[in-house]
């Protein structure tokens, strides 16, 4: 499985939870934090499980998520 990670823009996140519902690996969760707009923001609760599939980013209506995936050459090592 390719490893991945996501970077969540706290101030763009509106805490809608669509990313949580679509994540196939259950990586994301609501944090205890609120951003400046008062929204309960999402964070990576189980980062080791992220496969970089980008489902979360594709469903995010506020484009708060950027997705990174391990380079293919790195996976074989």
């Amino acid at each position: 499985m390719p490893k991945g990670t996501v970077v969540i823009d706290r101030e763009r996140c509106k805490g809608c939870g669509l990313c949580l519902a679509l994540c196939p690996e259950d990586v994301l969760a609501y944090s205890a934090d609120y951003n400046q707009s008062g929204y309960n923001v999402v964070y990576m609760e189980r980062p080791e499980r992220c496969i970089g599939c980008a489902f979360c980013a594709q469903t995010c209506p506020d484009i708060a998520i950027e997705v990174y995936r391990e380079k293919k050459s790195q996976q074989r090592e």
């Binding site: 490893k3 991945g4 990670t5 101030e11 763009r12 509106k14 805490g15 809608c16 939870g17 669509l18 949580l20 519902a21 679509l22 929204y39 980062p47 080791e48 970089g52 980008a54 489902f55 980013a57 594709q58 469903t59 995010c60 209506p61 506020d62 484009i63 998520i65 950027e66 997705v67 990174y68 995936r69 391990e70 380079k71 790195q74």
Partner: protein
């Protein structure tokens, strides 16, 4: 776990054709999702310099502020007429309208149908959330039978308010349209299908084939009084029953 970012490649980023401005939509609204898909399509096709947005009246009224493209905000319902003018004056531009169900299927019915019937070489993105979102959740022509809205608190009653209009089907029975499709965004597979449909609609215009309409079934968690995740299920289980998904016309 710490991640070594040197080994990582970015596989999803903010579209280049969007500004840094934050969307004014409610949490979980599919409007933002469609906006992002359009922006990624503009990036992919390399048409940022030629794209012209014709925004409508509704929640998406300030759409031109989010795109690094030219844009105009049409009078309520008249987006297809404005787009016709722009396209006929400069056919090199890639002109698309972005209209909700109130704008396209209610006040703008005449302009929308006749632009399609003339086969204008424009792309129409039709956001169908079955409600008037911006004005406070009143019944739209597309509201489902039995669906509640502030102006039909007991649910839409066919005897009083008629039936939901299937606008894509209305357009599809005309001879001129080249590509008419209905899509949804309730899961990842559907999001990918909608992205492909929007790209195809733009490609039809670039190739000079003619009119294309992409109807997208979206949600309105605020006015439906649901969480965003519940609203996704509602689209999947209820809305799709009245508005079946798929390509209705494909002469591309």
């Amino acid at each position: 776990m710490s991640v070594n970012m040197d080994n990582m490649v970015k596989v999803f980023e903010r579209p280049r054709s969007l500004t840094d401005a934050q969307f004014s939509y409610c949490p979980g609204c599919h409007h933002g999702l469609v906006t992002r898909i359009i922006a990624h399509t503009i990036d992919e096709l390399g048409i940022q310099d030629r794209a012209v947005i014709v925004a409508s009246v509704g929640c998406s009224v300030t759409m031109y502020e989010w795109f690094r493209c030219d844009g105009i905000q049409a009078a309520h319902g008249r987006a297809c007429a404005v787009a016709t003018g722009i396209k006929r004056v400069n056919s090199n531009l890639i002109v698309f309208t972005y209209q909700g169900d109130g704008d396209l299927a209610a006040i703008g019915t005449a302009e929308s149908i006749h632009a399609a019937n003339r086969g204008e070489n424009i792309t129409v993105i039709f956001i169908n959330n079955q409600i008037y979102g911006m004005t406070g959740g009143q019944m739209a022509p597309t509201t489902l039978l039995g669906q509640r809205a502030t102006s039909c608190p007991d649910g839409r009653n066919a005897q009083l308010a008629g039936y939901p209009i299937r606008f894509a089907e209305v357009i599809a029975q005309l001879d001129a349209p080249v590509y008419v499709t209905r899509q949804a965004l309730y899961d990842q597979k559907r999001i990918m299908a909608a992205s492909r449909a929007i790209k195809k609609a733009f490609q039809c215009q670039i190739d000079g084939k003619g009119y294309s309409l992409v109807e997208i079934l979206t949600n309105c968690p605020t006015n439906w009084r649901m969480s965003p995740v519940e609203s996704n299920s509602y689209v999947m289980n209820q809305v799709v029953g009245t508005f079946p998904l798929g390509d209705l016309v494909d002469r591309g």
